[in-house]
C-alpha cells in the first residue's frame, strides 16, 4: 500500500536543477511520509468496547483509523497517527485510551 520514497520523482535531488519545478510533490507521496514520528501519546483501542460507529474514523485528521473489509474498525495505523487524541475524545464508548509513548519502549509503531 505504501509507495517507496526512492521513486525517480522523490529521490533526493543532488543539484538545484533536479528539484521538481515549483517544489511540487508528486501523486500520493504523502502516503510514504511517516507522520507518526511526532506522537508523544498513543491511542490504544479496545475491540471489546468498540461499536464501530466510525466517529473516530470520520474525525481522524491523518486517516489513521483502520477498517476491515466489512467497514468495521480494525485498529490504528501508528505510521500516520500523530497522537492528537481526537479519536479518544469523540469515542462514545471510551474504547480508545491515550497512553504515553514511554509505555511502549520496544514498539514505536514505525514500519
Amino acid at each position: 500500500m505504501k509507495k517507496e520514497m526512492n521513486s525517480a520523482e522523490m529521490a533526493r535531488p543532488k543539484k538545484w536543477q533536479d528539484v521538481p519545478m515549483a517544489g511540487v510533490a508528486f501523486g500520493a507521496s504523502a502516503e510514504a511520509v511517516e507522520t507518526g514520528q511526532w506522537r508523544s501519546i498513543r491511542p490504544v483501542w479496545d475491540s471489546e468496547k468498540c461499536i464501530s460507529c466510525l466517529l473516530c474514523w470520520n474525525q481522524c485528521p491523518d486517516r489513521a483509523i483502520l477498517t476491515d473489509e466489512n467497514g468495521k474498525v480494525s485498529g490504528i495505523d501508528l505510521f500516520f497517527c500523530k497522537g492528537c487524541g481526537i479519536c479518544a475524545h469523540v469515542c462514545p464508548k471510551d474504547a480508545i485510551e491515550m497512553k504515553p509513548e514511554a509505555d511502549f519502549p520496544s514498539d514505536s509503531g514505525s514500519r
Binding site: K15, W16, G23, A25, G27, A28, A30
Partner: protein
C-alpha cells in the same frame, strides 16, 4: 480586421484581454486600474469572452484566486494599482514560485500614505524582488501590445514566470490616444492555448502545490527562479520579434533613443520618456549630443546591455519615479550596479521626479541635460520639481 481607434490605456489593455480571452480573471477594483476589470466585466456580461470572471472581496483574494486557477492550468489575467498591489504582496512570490504565468495589468499609482490617486512607481517597485517580470510601457499602444506579447513570454517553457505590464496611472491609463489593434483571429492564433506544466486538474498525474521546503531545498527552488529570469533575457527578443511579425511593432527590452553617439543620456521609464525624447530632439537641433534610454524591462534587469549603452557617455542622469527612503532609488541603484560591473565609471546624477503625480515638464528635462553638460553632478539625489 485590424483597427485604429481613439482609446485609453486601460481600455486598450481590456481590449487585449478580450482578444486573449483568458480562462480566468479574478479582480478587485482600485483606481486607476478599475477601468480594466470594469470594461472586462462588460465583455463577460455581453458574452464576448468565455472567461470565468471571479469577483472577490479584496485584492488579496483576487490574486489568490488567480494563483490557484493558474496552478490548475488556466490562463489567467488581472489588474490592480497602488495599495491594492501592496495587499497582494504576500501572494506575489507564491505566484512566481508556483511558476504561474499570470499576466497582470499594473496601473502605476503612488502608494499611500498620504492617500493619493496619481502616478508614481512606488507600487510596482515594492514588488521588485517578487520574482515577476516587470515591463514598463510608454503609451496605450505599448500597453495593448505588451498584454498580448506577455502571454507568450510568461508561458514560454524556459520562463514560466508571471508578468507585470505596467502603465502610468491616469497619464497613460486615462488619456485617450490612437491605438492600432490587431484582429481577433490574429491575437487568438498568436497566444494559442495554454499548455500547462503540472496542472492541478490533471487528475491522472496528481501533484501537490505549496509543499513545505525547509533548508534542504528552499534555496534550490529559488535558484530555479533566477534561471527563469536569465531565460527571459535570452528569449525575450525572439518572442518580441514574433509579435512584430503579426503587428509590425517591435518592443526591445531597452528603448535606445538617439543614444548611439550620445554624450549625455537621461535614463527613464514609462510615459515621462516622451517628454525626455522631445527635449533630446530639441537639443540635437542645437548640436548637443543628447540621448534617452528608456528602460522597458526592469525585471529581469538587462544590466550588460544598459552598461553598453551608457558606458561611453560623458554623463548620465537616472530618473526614478520612486524613492528608496534612506537608500538609492531603485532604477539608479540598478544602473549604477550595471556600470560598476562593466568597469565604467560614468558621472551619474540620481534624480527623483513625479512622486504622487507631480508633473514632469520639458523644462525639467532641459535643466537636467544642462547640469550634465556643465558637469554639475552630485553624489546626493536631486528632487525634480520639489518645492524648495
Amino acid at each position: 480586421m485590424p483597427r485604429r481607434e481613439i482609446i485609453s490605456g486601460n481600455w486598450a489593455f481590456a481590449e487585449a484581454m478580450r482578444q486573449i480571452n483568458p480562462d480566468v480573471v479574478a479582480a478587485y477594483p482600485i483606481t486607476p486600474s478599475t477601468d480594466i476589470p470594469m470594461k472586462f466585466a462588460e465583455f463577460v456580461a455581453n458574452g464576448k469572452v468565455d472567461t470565468n470572471f471571479v469577483t472577490v472581496e479584496s485584492e488579496h483574494s483576487a490574486i489568490t484566486a488567480c494563483v490557484t486557477a493558474a496552478a490548475a492550468g488556466a490562463r489567467v489575467m488581472t489588474a490592480s494599482s497602488a495599495n491594492g498591489v501592496a495587499l497582494m504582496h504576500e501572494i506575489f512570490p507564491i505566484a512566481a514560485f508556483f511558476r504561474n504565468p499570470i499576466v497582470f495589468g499594473l496601473v502605476n499609482r503612488s502608494l499611500g500614505a498620504p492617500i493619493n490617486i496619481h502616478c508614481d512607481h512606488s507600487d510596482s517597485m515594492g514588488e521588485r524582488d517578487a520574482g515577476w517580470v516587470h515591463l514598463y510601457c510608454e503609451d496605450a499602444q505599448e500597453a495593448y501590445d505588451s498584454a498580448i506579447l506577455a502571454v507568450r513570454l510568461a508561458e514560454h517553457k524556459d520562463i514560466l514566470s508571471p508578468v507585470f505590464v505596467c502603465q502610468d496611472g491616469f497619464i497613460t491609463s486615462h488619456s485617450f490616444e490612437a491605438v492600432s489593434m490587431l484582429d481577433d483571429k490574429t491575437v487568438k492564433s498568436f497566444v494559442g492555448e495554454r499548455d500547462a506544466d503540472l496542472p492541478l486538474l490533471d487528475v491522472d498525474n496528481p501533484v501537490t502545490y505549496g509543499s513545505f521546503a525547509m533548508s534542504e531545498y528552499y534555496f534550490e527552488i529559488k535558484r530555479q527562479q533566477v534561471e527563469a529570469h536569465r531565460n527571459v533575457l535570452k528569449h525575450y527578443d525572439s518572442v518580441a520579434r514574433e509579435y512584430e511579425s503579426i503587428s509590425g511593432r517591435f518592443y526591445p527590452k531597452l528603448d535606445k533613443y538617439r543614444t548611439d553617439d550620445a554624450d549625455f543620456i537621461v535614463v527613464v521609464m514609462s510615459s515621462a520618456s516622451g517628454v525626455v525624447k522631445d527635449v533630446v530632439d530639441e537639443l540635437r537641433e542645437k548640436g548637443v549630443k543628447a540621448g534617452c534610454l528608456r528602460i522597458r524591462m526592469f525585471r529581469p534587469f538587462p544590466a550588460a546591455e544598459v552598461a553598453e549603452v551608457l558606458g561611453k557617455a560623458k554623463a548620465v542622469a537616472v530618473l526614478d519615479r520612486a524613492l528608496s527612503i534612506g537608500g538609492t532609488a531603485p532604477l539608479s541603484a540598478e544602473v549604477k550596479s550595471a556600470l560598476y560591473d562593466a568597469g565604467a565609471h560614468v558621472p551619474l546624477q540620481s534624480c527623483v521626479y513625479g512622486l504622487g503625480g507631480r508633473d514632469f515638464f520639458p523644462q525639467h528635462a532641459m535643466e537636467i541635460f544642462a547640469d550634465l553638460q556643465k558637469g554639475n553632478i552630485r553624489a546626493e539625489e536631486r528632487y525634480i520639481g520639489l518645492l524648495e
